[in-house]
C-alpha cells in the first residue's frame, strides 16, 4: 500500500530505520491473522476451506465492508457514526414502502439514495454546525432513525422485490456473487478517494489537527457534513445489497450493526484518535470478523457468545494498536526501565 519512490531522500539524509515504519504493517499483520485463522478453522472443519464457503463469507461480509468504508472516513476524521444500522433499516423500509405502493424501482432507488445522503448529512450538520459531539449526535439519530423506520413500517415484514433488485443480492457475474463484485469495486473507489483525492486528505487533516486544517484554508464544516453524507451513501449501498440478498427487510434490521462496522474499522488499524486510517485494513478487519462469525456459526456457538467474542476482539485490537503507537505509558515506562537495567549490567560487565 505504500510505495517508496526512488530519490525519496532529500539532501542525502539517511532513511529512518525500517523498524520504525509501523503503519504499513497494519494490513499485512491482519492478513496473516486471517490466513492463520483460515488454516485453524480448516483443520477443525475441512468444509471451511471450500471456494463456496469463501465466496459465502465474502458475500456475507459485503454489506459490512461497504458500510465500514464510510466508517473509515468518519473515524479518520475523528468522528464516529453510531446511526449506520438504523439508517440501513430506515432506507430499506422506505424503499420497500414505495415498491409496495407500485412505484417504479428506478425512481424508488433514486429516492432511497437521496434519503441515505440526507440522513447522513443531517448527522454531519448536527456535528458541524450545532457542535454536538459525534458520539451523542449519532446516538440520538441512531434511536430517532430506528423510531422512524418502525413508524414507517408499523412493524411490517417487507418481502418480494423486483427481480432486477434481487439480482444485486443473489446474481452472479462470471461465477462471482454480485455483492462481492460491488464490494470490490467500492473498496477500490474508497481507497482512491481516501488516499488520492483532496477530499481524502482533508478528512485526515481535519481528524489529525482540526485547527491546522482550518488555518490551511480547509472548510472544516463542509468536510464534516460531506464525510457523514458519504457514510449515509455507503449505508444505502450496503442496505441495497443486504435487502436484495434476503429479498426482504424489517425495521429492526441492522441492529448492532454499528458495533461490527466500528470493530472492523478499528481492527483494521484506523486510529480512533483521528488523522489516519487504512482502507485495506478495514477490508481485512471486516473479512476477519465475518470469518470468525461464520466459524462460530458452523461450530454451533450461540449468538450471544458471538457478541461476547466480538466485544473481546475489539478490546484486543484497540490495545494492540495502542501498544504499537506507544500510547500505554506504564508499558513504555516498564520497557525503558528494563533497557536501563540491561545497559547498567552491560556497563558493569565491561568494567569488571
Amino acid at each position: 500500500m505504500t510505495e517508496t519512490i526512488a530519490g525519496d531522500t532529500v539532501g542525502g539524509a539517511k532513511l529512518i530505520g525500517t523498524a520504525d515504519r509501523r503503519f504499513p504493517l497494519d494490513g499485512l499483520g491482519l492478513t496473516l491473522v486471517i490466513v492463520a485463522l483460515g488454516v485453524i478453522f480448516t483443520l477443525i472443519n475441512p468444509r471451511f476451506a471450500s471456494v463456496d464457503n469463501f465466496l459465502n463469507i465474502l458475500t456475507q461480509a459485503s454489506t459490512y465492508i461497504i458500510v465500514a468504508m464510510g466508517m473509515t472516513f468518519v473515524i479518520a476524521k475523528a468522528g464516529i457514526d453510531l446511526s449506520v444500522g438504523s439508517m440501513l433499516a430506515l432506507v430499506t423500509c422506505v424503499f420497500f414502502g414505495f415498491i409496495d405502493d407500485g412505484m417504479a424501482w428506478g425512481l424508488a432507488l433514486v429516492i432511497m439514495f437521496a434519503l441515505g445522503a440526507l440522513l447522513g448529512a443531517f448527522n454531519g450538520i448536527l456535528v458541524a454546525f450545532l457542535a454536538v459531539p459525534a458520539l451523542i449526535a449519532t446516538l440520538g439519530t441512531m434511536v430517532a432513525y430506528r423510531g422512524l423506520a418502525l413508524l414507517h413500517s408499523s412493524g411490517k415484514l417487507y418481502y418480494g422485490l423486483p427481480l432486477e433488485i434481487v439480482w444485486l443480492g443473489q446474481g452472479h457475474i462470471f461465477g462471482i456473487p454480485v455483492p462481492v463484485v460491488i464490494a470490490a469495486v467500492f473498496v477500490a473507489f474508497s481507497w482512491w478517494l481516501f488516499n488520492r483525492t483532496p477530499f481524502g486528505v482533508h478528512c485526515r487533516a481535519v481528524g489529525g489537527n482540526r485547527e491546522a486544517a482550518r488555518l490551511s484554508g480547509i472548510r472544516v464544516s463542509r468536510i464534516e457534513v460531506l464525510v457523514y453524507t458519504f457514510s449515509g451513501i455507503c449505508v444505502t449501498i450496503g442496505g441495497l445489497i443486504w435487502m436484495a440478498r434476503i429479498d426482504g427487510t424489517q425495521a429492526t434490521f441492522g441492529t448492532a450493526m454499528e458495533i461490527h462496522v466500528i470493530a472492523a474499522t478499528i481492527i483494521g488499524g484506523t486510529s480512533l484518535f483521528g488523522g489516519r486510517g487504512t482502507i485495506y485494513g478495514t477490508l481485512a478487519g471486516a473479512i476477519l470478523l465475518t470469518m470468525l462469525n461464520n466459524a462460530l456459526v458452523i461450530a454451533g456457538v450461540e449468538f450471544f457468545w458471538q457478541l461476547v467474542a466480538i466485544g473481546v476482539i475489539v478490546v484486543i485490537a484497540v490495545t494492540v494498536n495502542n501498544i504499537r503507537e506507544n500510547r500505554i505509558t506504564w508499558l513504555e515506562t516498564l520497557r525503558v526501565r528494563r533497557n536501563q537495567a540491561r545497559n547498567r549490567s552491560v556497563a558493569r560487565g565491561s568494567i569488571a
Partner: protein
C-alpha cells in the same frame, strides 16, 4: 505598565504615517484601524492601528502575551476582531475564514505550526491547495508526483533534509517542521506574508536562509509582517518596527532611526519615544 496606559500613542497612529497613506497615490497595501479583540474579559488587543506598505518588512515585537499572535490572527482571518477595520489596498475586507484571507493574497505561518502530524510532508505542504489532475478527465485526483517533486525543490531551497517524504511529519524535528510550514508560503504568490516567530526553532544556517528569503521576497515587492523576539534579526531585516505592549501599540519606528536600547525600552516600559531625553525619564 502605567506608562503605557497613560500614553496616547496606542490609539492614534503617528501623524507621519497617516499623512503618508493619504498623500501617496496608492493606498497602503494593508491598513488596520482600531482593531480590538477580547478573550472573555481579557482585552488581548486594544485599539491597534497599523499600516504596511508594499515591499517593506514590518517587525512586530513585544513581550510574551503582548497580543502579537492575536493581532496577526485577526488580520489573517483566523479570528474575527470585536471592533475595528481592515483595509486591503484601501478597500475594507472582512475575512470569515483563513481561506478568505489566503484568497485575498495573505499567507500566514502560525506560531503553533499549522502542520497535521499524521499527514506526510507533501500532504502538509500542499494542504488546502493540492495539485490535482483529472482521472479519466473528470474526477480531481492528487498529482502526487508533482507534489513530491515540488516539495523536494522547496526543502532543498531551505537546505534542510528530510528522511523520506512519505512519512507522517510527527517523526520530524521541530526545525524541519518549521521549515515545512514556512515553505508553504512559497506555493502561491502572496502580496502580504505574515510570519509568527518563523525563526524560533531554526538552526543558525536554516535561520539565515529564512532571513534571506524574507529579504528577497521584500525586494520582489511583497509586504512582510514578521513577529520576532530576536532583535538582532529584527534590526537586520526590518524596515520598521511596531511595538506592542498589553494589547496596545506603543509605537511604530523606523529601524534606521532607533537604537536597540530604545526598542527594548519600548517593549519593557511601553515608552513610545525615540527621543533620548524622554527615554531616561
Amino acid at each position: 505598565m502605567s506608562v503605557a496606559q497613560d500614553h496616547p500613542a496606542s490609539e492614534v497612529p503617528s501623524s507621519g504615517e497617516r499623512g503618508r497613506s493619504q498623500e501617496g497615490e496608492e493606498p497602503p497595501l494593508l491598513s488596520v484601524v482600531g482593531l480590538e479583540k477580547s478573550y472573555g474579559g481579557l482585552k488581548a488587543i486594544d485599539g491597534v492601528s497599523l499600516t504596511i506598505e508594499k515591499g517593506e518588512i514590518v517587525a512586530l515585537v513585544g513581550d510574551n502575551g503582548a497580543g502579537k499572535s492575536t493581532l496577526i490572527k485577526t488580520i489573517c482571518g483566523a479570528l474575527r476582531p470585536d471592533a475595528g477595520d481592515i483595509f486591503l489596498r484601501g478597500k475594507p475586507v472582512d475575512f470569515g475564514s483563513p481561506k478568505d484571507a489566503t484568497d485575498a493574497g495573505i499567507e500566514t505561518v502560525h506560531q503553533s505550526l499549522g502542520l497535521v502530524d499524521t499527514l506526510t510532508v507533501p500532504e502538509n505542504v500542499f494542504l488546502g491547495r493540492e495539485e490535482t489532475t483529472r482521472l479519466f478527465g473528470l474526477f480531481p485526483q492528487l498529482d502526487l508526483g508533482k507534489m513530491r517533486a515540488e516539495t523536494r525543490k522547496l526543502l532543498e531551497r531551505f537546505g534542510i533534509s528530510v528522511p523520506t517524504l512519505n512519512e507522517p511529519v510527527f517523526r520530524l524535528s521541530g526545525g524541519q517542521r518549521q521549515t515545512i510550514a514556512i515553505s508553504r508560503l512559497l506555493l502561491s504568490e502572496p502580496s502580504l506574508l505574515i510570519m509568527d516567530e518563523p525563526m524560533a526553532a531554526l538552526g543558525v544556517d536554516e535561520g539565515r536562509r529564512v532571513l534571506d528569503l524574507v529579504v528577497n521576497l521584500r525586494d520582489e515587492g511583497i509586504a512582510v509582517l514578521m513577529i520576532s523576539h530576536n532583535l538582532e534579526h529584527v534590526f537586520q531585516i526590518a524596515d520598521r518596527i511596531a511595538v506592542l505592549k498589553n494589547g496596545k501599540l506603543v509605537g511604530v519606528v523606523s529601524t534606521s532611526d532607533v537604537s536597540r536600547e530604545s526598542v527594548v525600552g519600548m517593549i519593557t516600559m511601553g515608552v513610545a519615544s525615540i527621543d533620548p531625553k524622554r527615554t531616561d525619564r
